[in-house]
C-alpha cells in the first residue's frame, strides 16, 4: 500500500485488504524498494495536493520507479482513483483522466458493469456482473485517442464501465482498464469503500481484494506455497490466514 503525501484512502484500502485475508504493508513515497510485497495498491487521494494534474507529481516519487519495474515484471498493481491517475501518468496504462465534464467533484454510489473478469484483480467477478461501488473524483473523465480506445475494446482491456447516467464524461463510459497481461488495473471508482455495508454501499468491492489472492496463489511457484491453502472463507484478520500474501 503506497502512501504519498496527500493519499487519503490508504487506510480504507488497508482495511479492505485485511478483510480479504491478506496483510497490508505500508510503503512510503520516498521508499526505494518494495519490501518484498506480492502486489501493490496505489490508493485514492490527492497526492502532493494534485494541483497541477492528478498524479503528475506522484509519478516522480522514488517508489514509483520500483512500482513501474515490478508491474512490467508482472506484479499485480491496482491503482484506485488517484492511483489510476498515477498509473496513466506513469504510462503503465494508456490514456489520461481529465476534469469531469460537469466540472464538479462528484461523490456518489455508482453502478458498474464488470467487463473483464480475468484480470488479477477481477477473477472473483463474473463477466457482465453489475456491482455498486463509490465513485468520487474531480478528474475522472477517461480519455484516449480513438486508436487506443479501439484497441482497448478490441483486446478486452476495458475492466469496468459505468451504468446509468454519465457520472464524469469518460469516453465509452470507461471506469477501469487493464494491461494485456491483466496484472495492472486502473479503476476510477473505489472498491475499498464497498467492503462492509455499515460504512458503504454494500460489499460489491471486496472481490477486487480477494481476486488478487487467488491469482497470486495460482501463479505462485510450488516452493513458496509452503503453507496449505486455507479452508473456508478468509478470516477477518490477515495474520491468522494461511495465505502468505503480503500487499
Amino acid at each position: 500500500m503506497v502512501t504519498f503525501p496527500g493519499s487519503l484512502d490508504d487506510g480504507d484500502a488497508r482495511r479492505a485488504v485485511g478483510l480479504a485475508g491478506a496483510e497490508a504493508v505500508a510503503l512510503w513515497h520516498g521508499d526505494h524498494d518494495l519490501r518484498g510485497v506480492d502486489a501493490v495498491i496505489l490508493p485514492g487521494g490527492f497526492s502532493y495536493g494534485d494541483y497541477l494534474r492528478s498524479g503528475a507529481i506522484a509519478r516522480f516519487a522514488p517508489v514509483m520507479a520500483e512500482v513501474v519495474a515490478a508491474a512490467r515484471g508482472g506484479m499485480p498493481v491496482l491503482g484506485i482513483c488517484n492511483g489510476f491517475q498515477v498509473l496513466c501518468e506513469s504510462h503503465l496504462l494508456p490514456g489520461a483522466l481529465i476534469r469531469n465534464h460537469h466540472r464538479k467533484f462528484v461523490c456518489r454510489d455508482q453502478r458498474l458493469k464488470i467487463e473483464n473478469a480475468s484480470t488479477s484483480w477481477t477473477h472473483d467477478y463474473v463477466t457482465g456482473e453489475e456491482v455498486t461501488l463509490v465513485l468520487k473524483n474531480g478528474e475522472g473523465a477517461y480519455v484516449a485517442d480513438l486508436a487506443t480506445l479501439d484497441r482497448l475494446e478490441g483486446e478486452g482491456l476495458v475492466v469496468a464501465r459505468y451504468l446509468g447516467d454519465d457520472p464524469n464524461g469518460s469516453m465509452r463510459a470507461i471506469a477501469g482498464i487493464t494491461t494485456e497481461r491483466g496484472n495492472v488495473v486502473g479503476l476510477m471508482p473505489h472498491p475499498e469503500h464497498a467492503v462492509d455495508s455499515l460504512c458503504g454501499p454494500g460489499t460489491g468491492g471486496l472481490p477486487f481484494f480477494t481476486s488478487v489472492l487467488q491469482s497470486l496463489a495460482a501463479s505462485a511457484p510450488a516452493a513458496s506455497a509452503g503453507t496449505p491453502p486455507p479452508q473456508g472463507p478468509p478470516p477477518l484478520q490477515g495474520h491468522s490466514s494461511g495465505r502468505e500474501l503480503v500487499l
Binding site: Y48, G49, F105, V106, C107, K136, G138, L198, C199
Partner: protein
C-alpha cells in the same frame, strides 16, 4: 528588506520620543474611548505594530466585546448533570466531551461569512481550514466536517455566483484533507442576499490523555512557528498603517483575501499529530483570525505571562511585508507550538519529515510582557492579557423592536389553505420542490462522505454518524440546525427550537445527545433591535441547554451580517453532538421494508406561522413559532434511543420544516419504498400534513416488534398513533394519503430532485 529599512521604523523608543504622531485609529475600527484606554495601558501612544495588534484583537470578531456579557450565561448555567461528560468547557479553542471507553471528542462550529461573500471558493475553503486547525490544536485528530449554509433567494444572480463557489470551496478543502462531510444545512432566504452565511463545523477524536491546551508556560520554552510561510493575506485593513505611517508605496494594495492550501494543511495535521504522539508539545495554538497577534498574545496570557518574539525570523512569502503586516497576516495553514528546549530538535526533525517549515521565533519569559523585536529594535512591549483577554467589553443597549408585536400579530391563520385532496397533493409537490426542502444532493455529491471508511450515516440523514472504535462500535452523531424565520418571530423560542431540532435529530438517529456548539449569526450589535435578538437567543439557548442537561462547549459569534440597514434573519445555528454505543444500531431515515407499521410520535397542533408552507405558498412571515416543549423532547429522545438499542424500529425521521408531508416523502424516496397512510380523524388534513409542531417523529416498526414498541410508548405515556404502513417499492411505489390523494414516488422524485440542478447546471 529594502523597502522596510528605508522607512522609519516605529519602535517603542520612537513612540516615546514622538508622542504626537497621527495614527489611523478610526480606520482600524477603534473608538476614541478605546484609544484612550490603550494609551492608559501603555502609558504612551502605541507603536504602529502595537496599534495593529490591539485594533485587530479588540475587534468584534476577536474580542467578543458586544457578546461577552451574554455568552457568560453559557458558562454560568453549567449544572452537575452537564458537567458529567465535560472534560474541557467553554473558553478553550474547542470544548471536549467524554464519550466513554477512554475516548474524548471535541467539536466546534465557526463562521466564515464575510470572506465567503467576497471570494466564495477561498472564503469557504479557508473557513473549513480554520475550524480544522482549531480542533487539531486541542490534540485531536479531525475526523469529519459539516457545513451550515445560508444564501439569498435561489434565483438571485448573486446566489448563482456565491453558492457554487462556496460549495466547491467546502468540498475542495475538506475532500483534499480526507475528512468526510457528514451533514449540514442549506437554507435560502432573501435576508441572506448580499450576506451569505458559511458556518463550518469540525469534529475531532482523541484519547483522554491527549488533550492539549493553548498556553505558553515554562520560562525558556521555545516558540515554534510551523506550517506555511507568511504572506500578505487578509491584511487589507492594517495596510493603512504601513502605508499611511510610512509611505504610500505598495502595501496599501495588499490583498485582503486568504487563499487556502489544503495539501499543506493535510501535512500540518499529520505532522502535528506526530509531535503530539511523541509528547514534544507543552502548548499549542492555531493561527486563524488576527494571525500572530492572536497566537502570541493568547499563548502568553494563558501561560506564565511573558514571551519574547523575534519577528524578523518569521519566514515570509513576501519580503516586503512590514512588521505590522506580519503581525496581522492571516496566512493560512500555520500553527504555533511551545516546546521545551530539549525537544526542539526532534520537533524540527518531524516537521522536516513532513516537508513542513518550522522556525523558532521566540521564547517564554517571566517578565509578564509580550516583547516583539524587529531586527534588534523593540516594536511591541505590552502586557499580553490586555491584548488577548482584557479588551473592551460593552453592555450594548438593546430593546424589543417596535415591530415585534405587529410581526407576531400577523399570524398564518388567515392565509388561504388547500382543502381538497387535489389541493393538498399540489401543495406537497410544490413544497418538496421548494429551495429549502428540495433534494440537496447537487451540493452534497460534491463532498466526499466515504473517506476514512467510518461514515455510518451522512446526508440526507437526520444526523451524521461516525464510527469511532472499530472493535466496540462506539460512535458519535452530529446534527446542525436553525430555523431563522422562527428566530425572527421570537428569538428566545427560535434558539430553543434550533436546539430542540438538532437534539431531536441526533436522538432520532439513535444517539444520546451530550453537548452543544453554536454559531450565532446576527446583524449589527450597534442596532438595539439586533442586540435584543441576540440577548434573547442566548438566553433561550442557555436555558434550553440547562433544561436538556447538555452544555454549550464552544462556538462562535458573527455580527454585522447585514446589507445596508437590513439585518439577516437572526440565525443561531446549533450543533448537537451525541454518542452511540454501537453504531450498527443507528436508525436511518429511509423506509427499507414493505409491510412495516408507520407510527407518528408526539402531538400535532395547528402551528403554521413561520412554517415552510407559509413561506413557500404565501411568502408570509408572521405570528408565533411553534411551541417548544423540552420536557417532551427529552422523553422522545429517550424513547428513540431505547427503541433503537432494543431493535424495535427500522427507520425514524424527525418532523421539522415541511411537517409530516415532507418527512414521509423523504423516508419514502430514500430507498424507493412507498407508504399508505391515514390521517388522524381529529385533525384537519392540511394541519396534519403541514404543521410544524415540535417533538414529533415518524418511525417504521417491523410487525414483529409492534407490541413491544407500543408497550414502550404506553409505559412512558408518550403520544403515539399508528398512521400507516410501508407498501410497494421501486417504479410503481406511491405515497397514498387515504381519502386525500395519492402521488407516485417517481413524480415526487422528479419534483424534489430537479430544483438545484435546474438552477445551477448550464
Amino acid at each position: 528588506m529594502t523597502e522596510t529599512q528605508t522607512r522609519q521604523l516605529d519602535t517603542v523608543a520612537h513612540a516615546q520620543e514622538h508622542p504626537d504622531v497621527a495614527q489611523p485609529w478610526a480606520e482600524l475600527g477603534l473608538k476614541s474611548d478605546e484609544e484612550a484606554h490603550l494609551r492608559e495601558i501603555l502609558g504612551r501612544r502605541p507603536t504602529s505594530s502595537e496599534l495593529a495588534m490591539y485594533s485587530v484583537m479588540w475587534s468584534e470578531h476577536c474580542s467578543y466585546k458586544s457578546s461577552k456579557v451574554h455568552l457568560r450565561r453559557f458558562g454560568e448555567q453549567v449544572t452537575d448533570a452537564m458537567r458529567k461528560h465535560l472534560m474541557v468547557g467553554i473558553g478553550e479553542n474547542a470544548g471536549v466531551v467524554d464519550i466513554g471507553q477512554g475516548y474524548a471528542v471535541t467539536f466546534k462550529v465557526e463562521s466564515h461569512n464575510h470572506p465567503s461573500y467576497i471570494e466564495p471558493y477561498q472564503g469557504a475553503a479557508t473557513g473549513v481550514g480554520g475550524i480544522v486547525r482549531d480542533i487539531l490544536s486541542m490534540g485531536a485528530r479531525p475526523v469529519a466536517v459539516m457545513d451550515a449554509l445560508r444564501f439569498g433567494p435561489l434565483e438571485a444572480p448573486d446566489t448563482q455566483r456565491v453558492l457554487p463557489g462556496v460549495v466547491a470551496g467546502v468540498g475542495g478543502y475538506g475532500n483534499c484533507l480526507g475528512l468526510p462531510n457528514i451533514g449540514g444545512e442549506t437554507v435560502f432566504d432573501p435576508s441572506y442576499a448580499g450576506n451569505p452565511l458559511v458556518n463550518a463545523l469540525c469534529v475531532g477524536v482523541m484519547r483522554h490523555e491527549d488533550i492539549h491546551l493553548a498556553n505558553a508556560s515554562g520560562t525558556g520554552n521555545q516558540i515554534i512557528l510551523y506550517g506555511a510561510t507568511t504572506g500578505g493575506d487578509g491584511i487589507g485593513g492594517v495596510s493603512i498603517l504601513a502605508s499611511e505611517a510610512f509611505d504610500t508605496q505598495g502595501s496599501a494594495r495588499r490583498p485582503s483575501v486568504q487563499v487556502g492550501d489544503p495539501f499543506m494543511e493535510k501535512l500540518l495535521i499529520e505532522c502535528t499529530l506526530e509531535v503530539f504522539a511523541e509528547h514534544l508539545v507543552a502548548g499549542i495554538q492555531d493561527l486563524g483570525g488576527a494571525g500572530l497577534s492572536c497566537a502570541t498574545s493568547e499563548l502568553a496570557s494563558a501561560g506564565d505571562g511573558g514571551m519574547h518574539v523575534w519577528l524578523d525570523r518569521v519566514p515570509l512569502r513576501d519580503e516586503s511585508l512590514a512588521p505590522e503586516e506580519i503581525l496581522m497576516s492571516e496566512s493560512q495553514e500555520r500553527m504555533m507550538a511551545v516546546v521545551e528546549p530539549a525537544h526542539v530538535s526532534r520537533f524540527l526533525e518531524i516537521c522536516a519529515k513532513w516537508d513542513v517549515d518550522a522556525t523558532v521565533i521566540g521564547e517564554v519569559t517571566d517578565t509578564g510582557r509580550l516583547v516583539i523585536e524587529w531586527y534588534g529594535d523593540t516594536v511591541v512591549d505590552v502586557p499580553p492579557r490586555t491584548v488577548a483577554s482584557e479588551g473592551p467589553v460593552y453592555e450594548r443597549p438593546f430593546a424589543r423592536p417596535i415591530w415585534q408585536d405587529s410581526l407576531q400579530a400577523g399570524d398564518a391563520s388567515t392565509l388561504p389553505r388547500p382543502t381538497t385532496g387535489e389541493g393538498l397533493r399540489a401543495t406537497v409537490l410544490q413544497l418538496v420542490a421548494s429551495p429549502n426542502l428540495c433534494d440537496k444532493s447537487w451540493i452534497t455529491n460534491q463532498y466526499d462522505r466515504y473517506v476514512q471508511g467510518n461514515t455510518v450515516l451522512a446526508q440526507p440523514e437526520d444526523a451524521g454518524i461516525l464510527r469511532v472504535d472499530e472493535q466496540s462500535g462506539l460512535g458519535i452523531a452530529v446534527s446542525t440546525d436553525c430555523n431563522g424565520r422562527f428566530a425572527k418571530l421570537d428569538p428566545f423560542t427560535g434558539a430553543q427550537l434550533a436546539l430542540a431540532e438538532s437534539y431531536r435529530n441526533v436522538a432520532t438517529a439513535g444517539a444520546r445527545p451530550l453537548a452543544v456548539t453554536d454559531c450565532l449569526n446576527f446583524g449589527s450589535p450597534e442596532d438595539p433591535d439586533v442586540m435584543w435578538q441576540f440577548a434573547e437567543a442566548t438566553r433561550g439557548l442557555s436555558q434550553g441547554c440547562e433544561a436538556l442537561g447538555i452544555p454549550v462547549t464552544g462556538g462562535n459569534v458573527s455580527f454585522y451580517n447585514q446589507t445596508g440597514a437590513e439585518p439577516i434573519l437572526p440565525t443561531p445555528v446549533v450543533g448537537v453532538l451525541g454518542v452511540i454505543d454501537d453504531v450498527t444500531r443507528r436508525t436511518p431515515i429511509g423506509f427499507t421494508t414493505e409491510g412495516q407499521q408507520i407510527y407518528l410520535l408526539g402531538t400535532t397542533r395547528d402551528e403554521l406561522s413561520g412554517s415552510e408552507w407559509a413561506h413557500v405558498a404565501h411568502g408570509h412571515l408572521g405570528g408565533l413559532p411553534p411551541v417548544v416543549d423540552l420536557e417532551m423532547e427529552a422523553q422522545l429522545a429517550d424513547l428513540l434511543i431505547n427503541a433503537s438499542r432494543d431493535g424495535l424500529i427500522d427507520a425514524a425521521h424527525d418532523l421539522a420544516d415541511g411537517g409530516l408531508a415532507q418527512a414521509l416523502v423523504e423516508s419514502c424516496l430514500r430507498y424507493d419504498v412507498g407508504a399508505r397512510v391515514w390521517l388522524p380523524d381529529e385533525l384537519d388534513p392540511f394541519v396534519a400534513l403541514f404543521s410544524e409542531s415540535t417533538a414529533r417523529v415518524i418511525v417504521a416498526v417491523p410487525r414483529s416488534e409492534e407490541v413491544r414498541f407500543t408497550d414502550m410508548c404506553a409505559a412512558r405515556r408518550f403520544p403515539h398513533v399508528r398512521m400507516g404502513v410501508t407498501d410497494g417499492r421501486g417504479d410503481d411505489a406511491v405515497l397514498e394519503v387515504q381519502e386525500c390523494f395519492s402521488v407516485s414516488l417517481a413524480e415526487l422524485r422528479a419534483a424534489w430532485s430537479a430544483t438545484l440542478p435546474t438552477a445551477f447546471d448550464d
